[in-house]
C-alpha cells in the first residue's frame, strides 16, 4: 500500500499539471483535457482520504469513494457538454484557439 502523503503528492502534482494546462494552453480541447486531469487529481485525493478514514476512525464509511463516483458522472456529463460546445464553436468561428475567441474584450 502507498502511504497517504504519497497519494496526496500525486494528487497535487496532477492538479498542478491540470491547472497549468487550463491556464497556459490555447486549444480548448487541451484545456478540457486538463480540466479532466484536475478532476481526476481531486478524485485520487478523495479515494485516498476515503480509504484511510475507512481503515482507521470511521469504519464502514465510504463517503470518499461514493463522492468519486459522483464526480466521475458529473465529469462525463461535463465532458459531453464541453465537447459539444466545442463543436459548435468550431462550426461558428472555425477556430478553437482561446486567444481568438476573446470577444468580450472591453
Amino acid at each position: 500500500m502507498f502511504s497517504l502523503p504519497a497519494l496526496l503528492y500525486l494528487s497535487a502534482l496532477l492538479f498542478s499539471v491540470g491547472t497549468y494546462g487550463v491556464l497556459a494552453r490555447r486549444n480548448i480541447l487541451v484545456v478540457l483535457m486538463s480540466l479532466e486531469l484536475m478532476l481526476n487529481a481531486v478524485n485520487i485525493a478523495l479515494v485516498s482520504f476515503g480509504r484511510v478514514h475507512a481503515l482507521t476512525a470511521f469504519a464502514g464509511e465510504h463517503g470518499g469513494q461514493i463522492f468519486t463516483l459522483m464526480v466521475l458522472a458529473v465529469a462525463a456529463a461535463e465532458a459531453a457538454i464541453g465537447l459539444s460546445l466545442l463543436l459548435v464553436i468550431w462550426r461558428r468561428w472555425n477556430t478553437i484557439d482561446l486567444r481568438q475567441l476573446c470577444r468580450l474584450n472591453g
Binding site: T19, V22, V31, L98, L101, C102, N105, G106
Partner: protein, 666 residues
C-alpha cells in the same frame, strides 16, 4: 357720502389690470378710455377728499387690514391716510398724471406697445398714490419700490434698443443703492420707535424721548439715533430724487418716451424724496446737523446740474439736468428748514416741468424723434402754440413774476437768506450763495434751450421740410392746461408780505422756515418783511440778468457766445460741461469697472474653473479615467479570468488557514 381712500390708488390699478391683460384684444379706443378714465376718476375722488379736508378739516383715514402683525412686537397695518400734504400730492399726481395720460394718446399713437405703455403708466400712478397715502413707512416703501419698478419698465419701454435697456438698468441699480439706505432707516425706526406709523414717527414726545439715545456706527463713531435715521432716509431720498451722489441715472432716464419723462422723471416720482422729508418733518427737524448736510447737498446738486445743463445739446437732457437742479433747490429748502417752500416748489415744479417736457415732446413728435437742438432752430413759425407754452414754462422755471416758479423759488431763496444772514448760520449763507447763483444759471440755460429750439434761423434737416407741424388734439389740450397751471400755480402760496396768506403752507401745516418756529421771536415782522423784499429783489435781479445774458448770447446775435467759446478757457469749460464733468466716467472707473473686473475674475475662478472645470468636467473625467483603467481587466481571455479566479481562491484559502491558525493559537 363716505370717501374710501382705497379707491384712489385702486382705480388706476384696475386700469393696469384691464389694460395689461386685455388691452391687446380691444382697440386703442378701449385702452384710452380705461387708461385715462380711471385716473381722472381717481382725480375726482382726490378732489372730493381735498375739499372735504378744507371744509371740515377732517383728515381721512382708511384702516385697511393688519398686514405684518406679530402681536406686541411688530404691528404694521395696511392703512392709508390723507392729510394736507398727501391731499395736495394726490391732486398733483392724479391731475398732472391724467393730463399726461391724455397727452400720451396723441404722442404714442401707432406704437406697437400701446396698451403695454398705458398699463405701465397706470401701474405707476397706483404705486405713486400708495407712496403718498401710505400711513406707515413700510407701505410708503412699497410705493417707493413700485414707482422704481415702473420707472425701469418705462425707461426701457423701447427695449429693442440696447441703450434704453442700459438706461433702465442704470436707474434701477442707482435707486437700489438709495433704497438700501432707506430700508436700513426703516429698520432703525422699527427698532427704536417700535412702530412705523407716520403718527408715531412725527410725534414730538416720541422723538424727544429718543433724542438722547445714541448708536455707535463704524467710521462715524457715536451718532444719535435720530440723526442716523434721518441720514439714512435722506440717502434713500438722494437715490429717488436724483441728488449728489446718486443723480446720474436721471438724465439717462430720458431714454423713455417723453410723456414718461414728464410724469415720472420730472413731476412726480423724483419728488417723492422731498415728499418723504416733508411727511417726516418733525423727525428731520430734530436732526439739525443732518439738515445742514441736506442743504449743502441740495445746493451743490443744483449748481452742478445747472453747470452741466449749459453744455447739453439734447433738448431732453437740458430739461433733465434742470430737473436735477430744481430738486436740489427743494432739498436746499428742506435743509434750511423751509419745508413748506420745498413742498410748494414740488407742486409748482410739477406744473412747469411737466409743461416743459410735454412741450419738448411736442417738438420731438413734430420733428420725427429728433432731439438734438443743433438740428432745430426757428421752430417758432411751425410750432407757434408749442413755442408759447414752452416759453411760459421757461419763464416760470426762471422765476419771472407772477408765474409759478417765481413764488416758490423766491420762498426757498428767502429761507436760505434768512437762515444765512438773519440767523447768522455761515454754512447756510454759503449754500444760499450757491443757490442764488444757480437761479441766474437756470434762467440762462433755459433761454438757451428755447433760443436753440425755437428762435433764430432754421437748422432743420431738409428731409423734414414742410413736415413739421403742430400736433393738435390731446397734446395741445395737455399743454394748454399745464400752461395755465404754470401761470396761476404760484398763487397757491403767495407770501404774506406780498399780500397773500401762504395758503398752501397753512393747509399742509409745514414749517415755512427754521426761524418760523423757535428763533422767530427775535425778529420783528418789519425786519422780516424788509429782508423778504430784499431777497426778492436780489433773486429777481439774478434771474433777470441770466435771462438777458442768455438772450444776448443765443437770441440776439452770437458775438458774446463766439467770443466766449473762442477763448481757451471757454472751450475747456464748454467741453467740461458737455461731458458732464466726467462724473459718469468717474463712476465707471471707481465703481463699475472694478465690480466688472471682480465679477469676471469670479466668473473665471468659480464658475469656469471650479464648477465647470473641477466639479463637472472633473467628475466626468474621473469616472471615464477609472473606467478606462478598469476596462483593461476585461480581456475576454478566459484563462486570464481563471488565473485571477485562482489567485483569489488561493488568497481566500490563505486567509482561512491563517484564521484557523490564529483560532488554534488562542
Amino acid at each position: 357720502m363716505d370717501i374710501n381712500l382705497l379707491w384712489i390708488p385702486l382705480l388706476p390699478f384696475l386700469g393696469f389690470l384691464i389694460n395689461g391683460m386685455l388691452g391687446n384684444r380691444f382697440g386703442n379706443k378701449f385702452v384710452n378710455a380705461i387708461a385715462c378714465g380711471l385716473p381722472i376718476l381717481s382725480f375726482a375722488i382726490s378732489y372730493a377728499a381735498w375739499s372735504r379736508l378744507i371744509s371740515e378739516g377732517t383728515e381721512l383715514h382708511w384702516n385697511g387690514f393688519p398686514w405684518i402683525w406679530i402681536e406686541g412686537l411688530v404691528e404694521i397695518p395696511f392703512a392709508l391716510h390723507l392729510d394736507g400734504i398727501a391731499a395736495v400730492m394726490c391732486m398733483v399726481i392724479t391731475g398732472v398724471g391724467s393730463l399726461i395720460h391724455l397727452y400720451s394718446i396723441g404722442y404714442m399713437k401707432g406704437d406697437p406697445g400701446y396698451h403695454r405703455y398705458f398699463a405701465y403708466l397706470n401701474l405707476f400712478t397706483t404705486f405713486m398714490l400708495i407712496l403718498v397715502l401710505g400711513d406707515n413707512l413700510l407701505l410708503m416703501f412699497i410705493g417707493w419700490e413700485g414707482v422704481g419698478l415702473c420707472s425701469y419698465l418705462l425707461i426701457g419701454f423701447w427695449y429693442e434698443e440696447d441703450a434704453n435697456c442700459a438706461a433702465g438698468k442704470k436707474a434701477f441699480i442707482m435707486n437700489r443703492v438709495g433704497d438700501f439706505a432707506f430700508l436700513l432707516g426703516i429698520f432703525l425706526c422699527l427698532a427704536h420707535f417700535g412702530s412705523l406709523d407716520m403718527s408715531t414717527l412725527t410725534d414730538a414726545t416720541a422723538i424727544s424721548a429718543l433724542s438722547a439715545e445714541t448708536l455707535s456706527v463704524p467710521l462715524l463713531g457715536s451718532v444719535s439715533v435720530i440723526s442716523m435715521i434721518v441720514l439714512l432716509l435722506f440717502i434713500g431720498a438722494t437715490g429717488k430724487s436724483a441728488q449728489i451722489p446718486l443723480y446720474v441715472w436721471l438724465p439717462d432716464a430720458m431714454a423713455g418716451p417723453t410723456p414718461v419723462s414728464a410724469l415720472i422723471h420730472a413731476a412726480t416720482m423724483v419728488t417723492s424724496g422731498v415728499y418723504l422729508c416733508c411727511r417726516l418733518m418733525p423727525l428731520f427737524e430734530a436732526a439739525p446737523a443732518i439738515l445742514a448736510i441736506i442743504a449743502g447737498i441740495g445746493a451743490c446738486t443744483a449748481l452742478l446740474a445747472a453747470l452741466i445743463a449749459f453744455g447739453q445739446n439734447d433738448i431732453k437732457k437740458v430739461l433733465a439736468y434742470s430737473t436735477v437742479s430744481q430738486l436740489g433747490y427743494m432739498f436746499f429748502a428742506i435743509g434750511v428748514g423751509a419745508f413748506s417752500a420745498a413742498f410748494f416748489h414740488v407742486v409748482t415744479h410739477a406744473f412747469f416741468k411737466a409743461l416743459l417736457f410735454l412741450g419738448s415732446g411736442s417738438v420731438i413728435h413734430a420733428m420725427h424723434h429728433e432731439q438734438d437742438m443743433r438740428k432745430m432752430g426757428g421752430l417758432r413759425k411751425q410750432l407757434p402754440f408749442t413755442h408759447l407754452t414752452f416759453l411760459i414754462g421757461t419763464l416760470a422755471i426762471a422765476g419771472v413774476p407772477p408765474l409759478a416758479g417765481f413764488f416758490s423759488k423766491d420762498e426757498i431763496l428767502f429761507a436760505g437768506y434768512q437762515q444765512g444772514f438773519l440767523m447768522g448760520v455761515d454754512s447756510a449763507a454759503l449754500f444760499w450763495g450757491i443757490s442764488f447763483l444757480t437761479a441766474g444759471m437756470t434762467a440762462f440755460y433755459m433761454i438757451r434751450c428755447v433760443a436753440l429750439t425755437f428762435w433764430g434761423e432754421s437748422r432743420v434737416d431738409s428731409s423734414l421740410e414742410g413736415k413739421v407741424h403742430e400736433p393738435g388734439g390731446w397734446i395741445g389740450f395737455a399743454l394748454f392746461m399745464l400752461a395755465v397751471a404754470s401761470i396761476v400755480g404760484g398763487f397757491l402760496n403767495v407770501p404774506e408780505f406780498l399780500g397773500g396768506h401762504a395758503t398752501l403752507g397753512h393747509f399742509t401745516g409745514l414749517h415755512g422756515s427754521a426761524a418760523s418756529h423757535g428763533a422767530a421771536a427775535s425778529f420783528s415782522p418789519e425786519d422780516l418783511h424788509a429782508a423778504e423784499w430784499k431777497s426778492m429783489f436780489l433773486s429777481l435781479a439774478v434771474a433777470g440778468s441770466g435771462l438777458l445774458l442768455a438772450y444776448y448770447c443765443y437770441g440776439k446775435g452770437h458775438a458774446l457766445r463766439t467770443r466766449f467759446t473762442g477763448s481757451g478757457v471757454g472751450r475747456w469749460l464748454g467741453r467740461l460741461s458737455h461731458r458732464k464733468f466726467y462724473v459718469d466716467e468717474f463712476y465707471a472707473t471707481v465703481f463699475v469697472r472694478p465690480f466688472e473686473t471682480i465679477s469676471h475674475l469670479l466668473f473665471i475662478l468659480i464658475d469656469r474653473i471650479l464648477i465647470d472645470g473641477i466639479l463637472v468636467s472633473g467628475s466626468a473625467l474621473l469616472t471615464r479615467g477609472l473606467g478606462n483603467w478598469f476596462r483593461k481587466m476585461q480581456t475576454g481571455f478566459i484563462p486570464g479570468y481563471l488565473l485571477t479566479f485562482g489567485c483569489g481562491v488561493l488568497l481566500l484559502i490563505y486567509m482561512m488557514l491563517s484564521l484557523i491558525q490564529q483560532g488554534g493559537a488562542q
